[in-house]
């Protein structure tokens, strides 16, 4: 669908028939909200499991109940999640399902009506976020304006750029290019990459307004 070749910072989920089927449900304009939530959550789980693969691990040898050694791995380092409100909050449960009691910060960014630039309204982050890996959550990466603003906020709180993993369901090439140019050490974990943006800056074919569909605040819902 997209001729765009993603840069090396981007990890796209393997395009299996199953993932396509899940995407077909959540992208369909006629999908009921219950199904939209259920199948979005399944894709989010894939994304979180994939993102966790890109954290550092150390070797760990353990003994099994049968008395044998198993050469395993253990996760090393501390992590937290940061969701970009409101849509990013839809991804928190998926993260918690894999990492119980994970700390989660929130960032609210809105577009300034006059300047059309993203503006930070609110940020509440774990105090020791500077020592953590951060899974930055936002389902859609369109122009990259608010995501880049969120990364800027994280960096200003002492997070190291190469410890940020941006996790999202659908990206537009424009957003990826903008993020990679500004923050080349950030890793992007993405479900699918779409064709591009329409005149309203919506991703096409896209999914519509993810937050509205997930939280049920569409006018025609």
């Amino acid at each position: 669908m997209s001729t765009f070749t993603p840069p090396k910072q981007v990890v796209v989920l393997e395009s299996t028939p199953e993932l396509k089927s899940l995407m077909s449900i959540i992208r369909n304009k006629d999908t009921a909200r219950g199904d939209f939530i259920f199948y979005s959550d399944r894709i989010i789980r894939f994304l979180v499991e994939e993102a966790l693969n890109h954290l550092p691990f150390v070797s760990k040898t353990i003994e099994t109940p049968t008395g044998f050694k198993y050469e395993g791995l253990a996760f090393q380092g501390k992590i937290c999640g940061v969701s970009i409100m409101r849509a990013g909050e839809a991804m928190e449960q998926g993260l918690r399902d894999c990492c119980r009691s994970v700390r989660i910060g929130k960032i609210l960014i809105q577009r300034d009506e006059e300047t059309a630039l993203p503006q930070l309204y609110y940020a509440k982050l774990p105090p020791d976020i500077g020592q953590r890996f951060v899974l930055l959550l936002d389902p859609m990466l369109a122009t990259g304006g608010s995501a880049n603003k969120a990364i800027e906020v994280l960096l200003s709180h002492g997070v190291e750029e190469d410890k940020i993993l941006f996790v999202n369901l659908i990206s537009a090439p424009e957003g990826i290019t903008k993020m990679v140019e500004a923050y080349p050490k950030v890793k992007i974990i993405c479900g699918e990459i779409d064709q591009g943006l329409d005149e309203n800056k919506y991703i096409v074919p896209g999914i519509g307004d993810f937050g509205c569909r997930y939280f049920g605040t569409l006018d025609d819902a």
């Binding site: 099994t64 050694k69 074919p205």
Partner: protein, 467 residues
């Protein structure tokens, strides 16, 4: 004595035919009592007792009216549906599930519902014309004829029909003279020559029944194969079969395995990590289902070239450990029908035994995900797959989900059922001398359900690490 069903198939997974015994004899000669005594003597479960009464043809309205006047001849060979009988016995012999008709003596017709019969190591078929039809006779491994004196039969018949069926004495006698006795003389008695053994005096002849039972026991023992031990002696090829699909070895997967395999991991953590791992295996299994192309319209009014599931799916848990995957299954397929199979290892022989089986009614129209925590020798997996095949599911629609697998078990399955796909999260090295999988994760069911005295770790060292 265990009540499980011992393997009814060979190491190639092909069913071994059940032993079919036919028991004929006059009306009220004691065929049913003899059958029941043989079943009791054999002491094996999974014996199916099939009565010729189930195979009466439905009557026409005129015949029904005649039946109410005691004028219909139920004792004529033409009253039975030998075609259906033959087909039913043939399917039982093949080991597949059969639907036995239910004949209603009040309305003299077959009911719409049927009785489902599955899983017979021994089939006993009894009826007055059990030995009448050649096609049916040819399916029998042993043919018996119960030869009881006519006066004894008549006395029993009088007692049964008057006391239990509320009939009057003249009606019973009229029927006896007109139909029962001539049928016996003309059609039933002549089939005695097809019998391998004739039992005079019926149930009273305990010596004859005991001799027959002992002979049957020997025959059944000769047929039973010691599957698990045979399998364990196989040399394992280094190359894993193509039908084995192993999850991609990513660090996260390895870390989950480290958590569930560690003997010091608490139950709390064990359950949590086992479920994460299960969900990955389930998702990988679902990816094996067939998909169809579909174009959908998105809210931005553009088209997305997508896919959709083309077939229905269900799952079957191999209880107990396999049932731990049910949560993972329901988390991804909300309304998935879940069947259950209980297979236990007989401690004395080490063989798997089927104890219980309850499957979705429309299983043959679905893809089937069988779930179990591990594949060690493959003996239990082979049995579970055989059960599903016996329910008319094609081999290539079965996907076996497991957390860990030993190469031996994988080869056993691939050898018997090459079209069955196996999804495993990791493949272990081997089996130890007790046929336990190593390095393994111990007794998965005990650790998950907390039914062990052995105290595994209590420290939540892995939990919430760094969160």
């Amino acid at each position: 004595m265990s009540a499980g069903r011992f393997p009814w198939y060979n190491r190639e997974g092909k069913p071994i035919e059940p032993f079919v015994i036919g028991i004929a004899g006059g009306s009220a000669s004691g065929k049913t009592s003899v059958s029941k005594r043989i079943i009791k003597n054999l002491g094996v479960p999974w014996v199916v007792l099939l009565s010729m009464d189930s195979f009466y043809k439905s009557l026409t309205p005129e015949q029904i009216a005649a039946a109410y006047r005691n004028e219909h001849n139920f004792d004529h060979p033409n009253s039975f549906d030998y075609e259906l009988l033959h087909q039913t016995l043939l399917n039982l012999k093949k080991g597949v599930k059969v639907e036995v008709p239910i004949y209603d003596f009040v309305t003299h017709s077959r009911l719409d519902k049927t009785k489902t019969v599955y899983g017979a190591n021994v089939v006993i078929f009894e009826g007055i014309f059990a030995l009448y039809d050649k096609q049916v006779r040819d399916l029998m491994d042993m043919k018996l004829f119960v030869d009881t004196d006519a006066d004894v039969c008549l006395a029993r018949r009088l007692k049964r029909d008057i006391a239990e069926r509320g009939r009057d004495i003249s009606g019973v006698l009229q029927q006896y003279h007109r139909f029962v006795k001539p049928a016996f003389d003309d059609h039933i008695h002549p089939t005695m020559r097809y019998a391998d053994v004739i039992i005079p005096r019926g149930l009273d002849n305990t010596a004859a029944i005991d001799v027959i039972s002992r002979h049957l026991s020997r025959q059944l023992n000769d047929r039973g194969v010691n599957l698990r031990i045979e399998i364990a002696g196989d040399a394992v090829s280094d190359k894993l079969p193509d039908n084995l699909l192993v999850l991609k070895p990513m660090p996260q997967l390895k870390a989950l395995h480290t958590a569930i395999r560690d003997r010091t991991t608490s139950r709390h953590d064990f359950i949590f990590y086992a479920e994460r791992l299960s969900r990955m295996v389930v998702e990988r299994g679902l990816a094996e289902l067939p998909f169809a192309e579909v174009n959908i319209e998105t809210p931005t009014k553009s088209t997305y070239a997508g896919k959709t599931w083309a077939r229905k799916v269900c799952s079957v848990s191999v209880v107990r450990a396999g049932a731990t995957m049910e949560q993972g299954l329901r988390s991804v397929v909300k309304d998935i029908p879940i069947g259950k199979i209980l297979i236990q290892t007989d401690p004395s022989t080490g063989e798997p035994q089927l104890h219980y089986c309850k499957l979705p009614a429309d299983i043959k129209d679905r893809y089937v995900l069988i779930s179990d925590a591990q594949i060690a020798t493959g003996a239990a997996a082979l049995m579970a797959i055989r059960v599903i095949l016996d329910h008319d599911v094609p081999e290539d629609r079965i996907i076996f989900l497991t957390l860990i697998a030993a190469p031996l078990g994988v080869h056993t399955i691939a050898n018997a059922f090459p079209a069955v796909r196996i999804v495993a999260s990791e493949v272990d090295k081997e089996l130890d001398e007790w046929l336990h999988i190593v390095p393994g994760f111990g007794n998965f069911g005990d650790r998950y359900f907390g039914t062990t005295d052995e105290s595994y770790g209590t420290s939540d060292t892995n939990s919430d690490n760094g969160y």
